[in-house]
Each structure stands twice: as C-alpha cells, then as structure tokens.
C-alpha cells in the first residue's frame, strides 16, 4: 500500500520566507512528489496551531508519514515527534529537513534558494516513506554519582547531591580536596578570605554521610552507559592506613626530609617527605611521597613508622583498585596555570624577581610560606614598585587564544593587597580590562581611586639590562603605552605574571576515558554552549567548572550546582530513555574482524570471544554510523539510516536528474548546489 505523506513547509516568520518562496515549495511538492497527499505552508510550524495542523491531518487525512521543512532538528525534532505521537503516528515516521540554517540563512538568491528548498523537501519526502516505526527503550538510573575533582566546582556538586539524599563518590587526585581555591588568600571582589568560605564546605564533604571521599585517587576506566556506569578508580598508596591514622601529625613533625613543594606552595615553600598539604586539609591523613622519602631511597630512617602512636604507617601499602557503580558522572577536573617560562622575554625562571600569580598568591596568604609577607626572592626585601602583567599565555595565538577570565580581577585584587600591605606603587599592564560580572566593575573603579596605575599595552619584555642610572639593579618593564602611543620603560622591584588558565595536561585522556570530546584548547566540550552548558554529548556525563572553560569561583560554583541539578532530575525520573536510532550487527554474518570495535567513538561495540562476533551495546550506541560504513562485510545496519532510506534520500535530492522531462531546470539547480 502506498504511503500517505504530509509535507509542512514553515515560514519561520521571515527567517525562511524571506529568502525561500515557501508557498511555491509547498505547492510544487504537492504536485510533483509521489505519494504526497497533503502539502502546506504555515507561518510558524512550531506554534501550537502549527502542531495542531499535523495532528489533525494525521487523523482526518490518514497520513502515514510526515515531513516538516523548517529549522534544525536540534531545535524542534522533539516538538514534531510529539505532534505525530499526539496524532497517533509513531514519532520515528517523521522526517525534518532544514531549510533555514542549510538554505535561507546561507543564500542570497531567492530563486536559487527556492530551488534548493524543493530538492531538500523532495529528499525528505522520498526518504520518509522508507522509515520504520521504532520504539525507544528505558533503563533504570543508579542513584549514586561520581564527581571527579574536589575543587570548588566538584565540592558544590557533591554537597548539592549529598544534601538531597544521594550517594556521591568524590574522587580527587591530590592528597586533599579543596583545589586551587585552597591556595588563595583573598577572593575578589569582596576580598573575603578564601579559606574561610572554602573550608566549611571541605569539612562538610569530608564528614557527610552520603559522601565517600577518595583522595589521592585517579580515574582509570569508565564502562557502561547513562544510568549504569561502571567505574574503576585507583586509590594510590598513601603508605598511611586511613582508618588507623588520627591525623595527629607526629609523623610529619619528625620526618627529617624537607623538599620543595611545587604543588600546593607553587614552589615557594617546602614540605616534608610525609606531609599534609595544608593545615585545613581534608582528610587529615598524610601522604608519604616515596620519591623523596629516605626509607624508600636506602631503607633507613623510618622515623614516622617508629613514632606513629597508632601504627598507621605502612611502607608496604599498595595502590588499590576500586570498582564503583554509578548512574551519572560529573567531571570537575579544573585547570592548571600556563607555564610562564614559555614566554622567555618575560624572564620567569631567569630573572629572580619575576613571579607568577600563584606564587604571589601563596605569599599573600597568612598560612603561606612567608606567613603573609610579600618579599623579593631574597626572602627579605620588600618591593616598593610592582608590575602586574596581564594575559601571560592568554589572548595570544602563540599560546592560548582564549581569555582566562579571572586575571583582570585577580590583578585588581593583588593591586589592592600590595598597596594595602606594602604601600607599594603598582602598575597594571593590560590589553583590555574585563570586569563584567556583578560587583566587578565597581571593584575596578575602587582600584582606580585607590591609585593603582594602569598602562594599556602588551609588555614586550622584562629585562635587567639597564639603560639609565635609575634603572640599575631593577627589573625594567618595556611596554608601548597604546593610549599615549609611546614606548615606555618602567623600573620595578617585582614583576608578577598573570599566567593564563589552561586545561589539565591530561584533560584529553580523561575525555577519552569518559567518551567526551575537548575543544581545540583542550577544555571539555559542552552539549550546547548557551542552552546546555553542563551536559555533554554523552548522556550521563556532565562537566562543571574550569575544565569546561576558564572561569572564576562564582561561575564554577554555579556550574557545580547546575550539574548536580541535572543529575538530580535524572535520579528523580528514575529511568532514562535510550534512543532507538542505533546500529545492529547481523551476528550470523559477522566475521569477527573487530574493525568496528576500535572505530566506535562511544565504546559501544563489544566483542564476544566465545562466539567470535561483535555486538552493539544498545544503551551506549549513539547511531553515528561509523561502524555501519566501516564494516567490510556490510552486516551492520543503522536503524533510521539504512541503505534504502539513504538511497531514497539521494534520489529525492536529485529529483531533476531522475526525471529527464524536467531537465529545463537542471542548469539552475546545478548552480544552487555548487553554491
């Protein structure tokens, strides 16, 4: 029996109708495309009345297939599938074709655009006849969640979920949770103490009945899919028994080996071989660094083990692999600072008194290596003139094209602290000052009034080569002041480089493990930059904080909470729908060559060793079609994208070539498709 196809061409106000003669397209389709029983154009198909048109036609005209020519299916496929369902038609018997983004918005010639729209509609109408009714499947959602990263974004997400009564595994690579925020002294623009607002959250997470804290741990493997992920976590050997340790600190106190702390103290201070990174660390359990421990070097010392009152030190402790079952995963893996020595003309690592922003941050901190004293590298001289250089490794196509979003405000904060604590002259070298959040511009105005100096220009070099007597013994910052249009030299005692925010070095690996992609810069890619900023293209994997893009504390907290809200809604619903647009392998004819196994970007193809065939895990498959096209035996079928459907679509788009009698239009159409 022939299908009855209904075709609906949307004006989208003037978005489509402005460049495509939609009435003509509808009329032509009704007259020329086989099996089309209804062809209409309508002002806004997505409106209630537009949807009603489809429903009514299905009922009255007995439509068996529906084509909507409108915008991108990303926007309204769900809407029109629902309309089909309401009319009593299986929603997968709908085909949307995009005559807005793919046609009206990108063409200027109305006649040619109209011809192209006809081809697109014809293609959809030919294909839809071959579409098959499909039924989605549903799986239960495991209410436990894995949060990767214990910085402020991860902490926020963890607490939101745990407070709502759900189990959370918080996995952190470092010995303590807290992230970068724990290193900071003051936070902008309110200048409240970073530790004072962070540590309550840390200890709450540490003691929460619904939170399992896994510090000094790494994500190893993720399998399964939304609702039911199986996760392997490696808990690195601390060499300290977590249960026996009371956190008394005797081991740290008695350890004779001091080493440079290049992590928490940013190289500004020292720690012991067995250490707790900072006083408020959660958990309090120390970590023994086997690289610097005397015992692991030559089996001597062992002071910590001898003196521990609870026998908690265990030199033989080994890494432990934990298997966790969770329904959703939130990635909050944070950022790292740009290596400032990559810009050698700024002298970091070569000129002693060039500091990074993190180093200054540690010096400002009363609990830091200098007990809050801001001094030069000699440990005693107080700087009188300080240069703060913005955009080091940011907004620079040689390093990172992006703006790091926090450095302008952090510079202002440093300016305030340096003037307040040292009464220093502070010079800020900026390209643009970007203070576009609540209270930020006001803070900038405050610093202008407080007398911080602002020089607009990109610093060309920081040098110790003096030209004038007053430059002797100083660092000289050479910069074109672009407001004056003049090269200027500023002799200073200290230069601070505002290193940009970069993704973690292994962000791409973590992305691969979880089956999500990264931007060119290496930040995790969200599902939609505006409308879906914390979800990813892989269902059940969410992102929050600076791992998704450079951002400050308030924005990280907001994303942490948003990701938790998304997970909560999944948990509350209890079930997730799995799209039926998936690949199926004809196992009878599969040769077991395994070519498809490694090609699948979603790890959705399993190999059955005993039967020597591959098979698709429906819950993981996204229906991308990679395996379908790669299978040398052509035994993989993509539901909703089978060969008949694709060939019909091609024939439809080439309708003029298929019908030699209408060849008069052919030359026009050829031009259109070439454009």
């Amino acid at each position: 029996m022939a299908e009855k196809v209904g075709v609906y061409v949307c004006h989208c106000g003037s978005n489509i109708a402005g460049k495509v003669d939609v009435e003509q397209v509808a009329k032509w389709t009704g007259q020329h495309v086989k099996d089309v029983t209804v062809a209409r154009d309508y002002k806004f198909m997505c409106s209630d009345l537009g949807q009603k048109l489809i429903e009514d036609d299905i009922k009255k005209e007995g439509l068996t297939r529906v084509v909507v020519a409108a915008c991108s299916p990303h926007l309204h496929e769900k809407t029109f599938r629902r309309a089909c369902s309401n009319g009593g038609l299986n929603p997968y018997l709908l085909e949307m074709t995009n005559i807005r983004e793919h046609c009206s918005w990108v063409h200027s010639d109305r006649a040619a655009a109209t011809e192209k729209a006809k081809s697109l509609v014809s293609a959809a109408a030919e294909r839809v006849k071959w579409q098959q009714p499909l039924e989605p499947t549903y799986v239960d959602v495991n209410p436990a969640t894995l949060v990767l990263g214990g910085g402020i974004a991860g902490l926020q997400a963890t607490l939101e979920l745990a407070d709502a009564g759900h189990k959370v595994y918080l996995v952190e690579r470092q010995p303590s949770i807290g992230g970068h925020m724990a290193q900071f002294d003051k936070t902008f623009p309110t200048l409240d103490c970073s530790a004072c607002i962070l540590t309550p959250k840390m200890s709450e997470a540490g003691q929460h009945e619904n939170v399992t804290l896994l510090t000094y741990s790494e994500l190893e493997e993720v399998t399964g899919s939304v609702g039911n992920f199986k996760v392997k976590v490696r808990q690195k050997a601390r060499k300290v028994d977590y249960d026996k340790c009371t956190g008394c600190g005797v081991c740290v106190e008695k350890c004779p080996r001091k080493v440079l702390d290049s992590e928490f103290e940013a190289g500004m201070g020292t720690r012991k071989a067995i250490y707790v990174p900072f006083p408020q660390a959660v958990p309090r359990t120390p970590v023994l660094d086997t690289e610097s421990c005397i015992w692991f070097e030559r089996q001597r010392c062992g002071a910590c083990r001898k003196l521990c009152p609870t026998d908690a030190i265990d030199f033989d402790q080994e890494d432990e692999l934990l298997d966790l079952n969770v329904g959703n995963i939130i990635l909050a893996t944070g950022w790292k600072m740009f290596d400032c020595d990559q810009i050698p003309q700024y002298g970091y690592g070569r000129l002693a008194n060039v500091f990074t922003s993190l180093e200054l941050e540690r010096m400002c901190n009363a609990a830091g290596p200098t007990a809050g004293k801001i001094v030069l590298r000699d440990g005693k001289t107080v700087p009188k003139r300080v240069a703060i250089i913005h955009c080091v490794g940011s907004r620079d196509i040689r390093h990172n094209a992006h703006c790091s979003a926090v450095c302008c405000m952090a510079s202002l904060k440093f300016g305030h602290l340096l003037m307040e604590k040292l009464d220093a002259e502070v010079y800020s070298f900026y390209i643009d000052i970007r203070t576009n959040q609540k209270g930020y511009e006001e803070f900038y105005q405050r610093l202008l009034e407080e007398g911080m100096h602002f020089v607009r220009g990109k610093v060309s070099e920081v040098t110790d080569a003096a030209r004038l007597p007053e430059e002797e013994g100083k660092l000289i910052v050479q910069c074109e002041d672009t407001l004056l249009g003049r090269q200027q030299r500023f002799p200073v005692d200290m230069a601070v480089l505002m290193g940009g925010m970069e993704p973690q070095t292994d962000a791409r690996d973590v992305g691969l493990t979880c089956g999500i992609s990264c931007s060119m810069a290496g930040f995790f890619t969200e599902r939609h930059p505006k409308l879906d900023p914390v979800a990813t293209m892989t269902d059940g994997i969410f992102v929050a904080g600076a791992c998704q893009g450079a951002k400050d504390i308030p924005a990280s907290v907001a994303q942490g909470a948003a990701a938790a809200a998304r997970v909560q809604s999944m948990i509350t619903r209890g079930k997730v729908m799995i799209e039926p647009i998936v690949a199926t392998i004809d196992e009878e004819n599969c040769s077991g060559c395994r070519i498809c196994n490694n090609l699948c970007p979603f790890n959705a193809i399993d190999y059955d060793e005993t039967r020597a065939v591959s098979h698709v895990i429906t819950a993981l498959c996204k229906g991308c079609g990679t395996c379908v096209s790669a299978c040398p035996a052509q035994v993989i079928t993509g539901a909703h994208f089978n060969n008949q459907q694709i060939f019909a679509e091609i024939e439809g788009v080439l309708w003029d070539a298929m019908q030699p009698t209408e060849a008069t239009d052919a030359s026009d159409t050829a031009e259109v498709s070439a454009s």
């Binding site: 050698p344 003309q345 002298g347 070569r350 070099e461 040098t463 110790d464 080569a465 003096a466 030209r467």
Partner: protein, 298 residues
C-alpha cells in the same frame, strides 16, 4: 653532508673572517659546502622598499642557480638568509608572484620551483644537524673559563625563519655551553644593532650600539659572538666612535661565532680570520685558555 653555499657580498669583504671560519669549521666537521656558481647580491634590506618584483627576482636567481642535486642552501649572513627564506616562502604562497618571478628568471634561461631548496641557517646546521654529540666529539680545546655573550641580532630569529625562539633565542647559548664556555645571560641578545642607521642617524645608531656594549660589560662578558655581518661591523668598527660620543671606554671584542667554534675545534686562529677585528679578541682568548691550562697542570 653536502650543502649549497651562498656566502653573499659581506663575506667577501668586510666579514671575510666569517667566510674563512665557516669554511674551516665545515671542513673539520665534514660538511661539504659547494659555493653557488655565479651568485649575485641578495639586495640586503634596501631593494625590497624599491621594487618587490625586482628584489625577489634578484634573490630567486641565486636559488635557481643551485644545482638540482642539492636540496639545502646555507647562508651565514643574516640578511642573505632571511631574503632567500622570504623569497622562497613568497613564491610558495603567492602563485601570481611565483609566475612573475619565474618569467623574469626565464629571460635569463633560469627557473626555480618554489620549495625545491631548503634555506638553512648556519646556526641551525651546526646546532641541530651536526648536533651536540658530534661537536663534543670533535672538540679539542674546551672553552672553559671564557665568558661569552651570544648576540643573535634582529634578523635571523624572525618568526618566518623558524630558527629559534624569536623573542629569546637560545641555540647559540646551548651550543657554546656544550663547548664548555661560560655563556652569560645576555638580555639584549635579540635587540637591534641599528643596522644602516649609522649612515642616516648616528645618534640613534650609537645609542643602540651603546646598549648592546653596556649589557655585555654588565654581564662581564669577555667577548661577544655575532652571527650577522652588519651586527659585527656596527659593534666592532663603531665602538671607538661610540666611546667618544658617550665618553665611555668600551673594549669589547666582537667576533663571529664560527671563529670561536673553530678555536674549540682546534683550528689555527689565523685560519679563522682572527686579527681582522678592530678590538682584538686574541689576547683575551689566549689568556683564558692559558689560565685553564695552568689550572689543569696544577
């Protein structure tokens, strides 16, 4: 290793020490340099401002003259290197210019396929292609105790050349560290020497030269190593006039880096063109090497 060699005009006259030392060093390192037959001037910096087509055609003629079996050309002079590199890149990127240049070459019965020859700077050749292991192996006279300031100048490290970090190059530093020298941190290593400003505006040029000399003195360098004939000329030949102008007493020997490399490779100093510089470099080198020998004997 066999390379086409493009000495350029300076190396035939004022910078003969560069040419002598390059050839001597190449011989010891088994690098075969085959001078391009009938090469012509690269036009330096001036020709480009007059007529780009003529300027590039004049340069491209040298590339076209390179024997088809040679894939690399070495140009020790900064301007020559940059001009060859720039012209080759332009011909690769701009088909219209490529056609025009080749039609000009055609009038002389020549043709050049853009990209056929790789333009290579001497520093790249020695640092990267010869490399640390060979240099250390061939070294007979370590430069221990000699404080050298490596000066790259502004041309060779320009981004187009891809030779080293344009803002703070390090390859010459590294090379002389391998050879045992005390390489000082020379913060103005990529700053301009003033170029032809000595002819146009002496004040401006002298100030630029003064900064370079002052920085060498501040970093207690025994001598300054150049890789550009223009830089060497400005710093060496104008040093006396800079002294008069600023009432200073700079006595900084300025030599080509290949000359000192030659010393490390045990080549006789006369063969390396020593003595042609105005502020003599031999005494300080001899005395540092003597100190070193005395220490070794003690």
């Amino acid at each position: 290793m066999k390379y086409a060699y493009y000495p350029g005009c300076s190396l035939e006259s004022g910078s003969a020490a560069y040419d002598l030392s390059v050839r001597a060093v190449a011989e010891v390192l088994n690098i075969e340099l085959e001078e391009i037959d009938d090469w012509n001037c690269c036009g330096a910096t001036e020709y480009f401002t007059q007529d780009e087509l003529v300027a590039t055609s004049v340069i491209a003629r040298n590339l076209a003259l390179i024997r088809p079996d040679l894939r690399d050309v070495v140009a020790p002079c900064a301007a020559c290197f940059l001009n060859l590199k720039k012209t080759d890149a332009l011909m690769q990127d701009d088909p219209a210019m490529n056609a025009k240049i080749n039609s000009a070459l055609g009038a002389g019965g020549l043709h050049y396929d853009a990209g056929r020859v790789r333009v290579c700077h001497l520093l790249e050749l020695l640092h990267t292609e010869v490399g640390e292991a060979t240099l250390k192996e061939k070294m007979v006279q370590p430069l221990t105790g000699l404080r050298v300031a490596p000066y790259y100048g502004c041309q060779v490290v320009r981004p187009l050349g891809g030779l080293d970090n344009p803002e703070y190059p390090m390859k010459m530093d590294e090379m002389f560290k391998w050879l045992g020298a005390d390489v000082v941190d020379y913060p103005v290593k990529a700053h301009c020497c003033g170029g032809h400003m000595t002819q146009i505006s002496e004040d401006a040029a002298f100030e630029l030269i003064r900064r370079l000399l002052q920085s060498a003195v501040d970093s207690k360098a025994d001598l300054l190593l150049c890789m550009c004939p223009m830089c060497q000329l400005n710093l060496d030949a104008y040093q006396g006039r800079v002294n008069n102008f600023f009432n200073k007493d700079f006595q900084v020997p300025i030599i080509f880096f290949t000359q000192l490399l030659g010393v490390a490779l045990g080549i006789d100093m006369q063969k390396l063109g020593f003595g042609k510089e105005i502020v003599g470099a031999e005494p300080i080198i001899q005395s540092r090497l003597a100190e070193q020998a005395a220490k070794a004997n003690a």
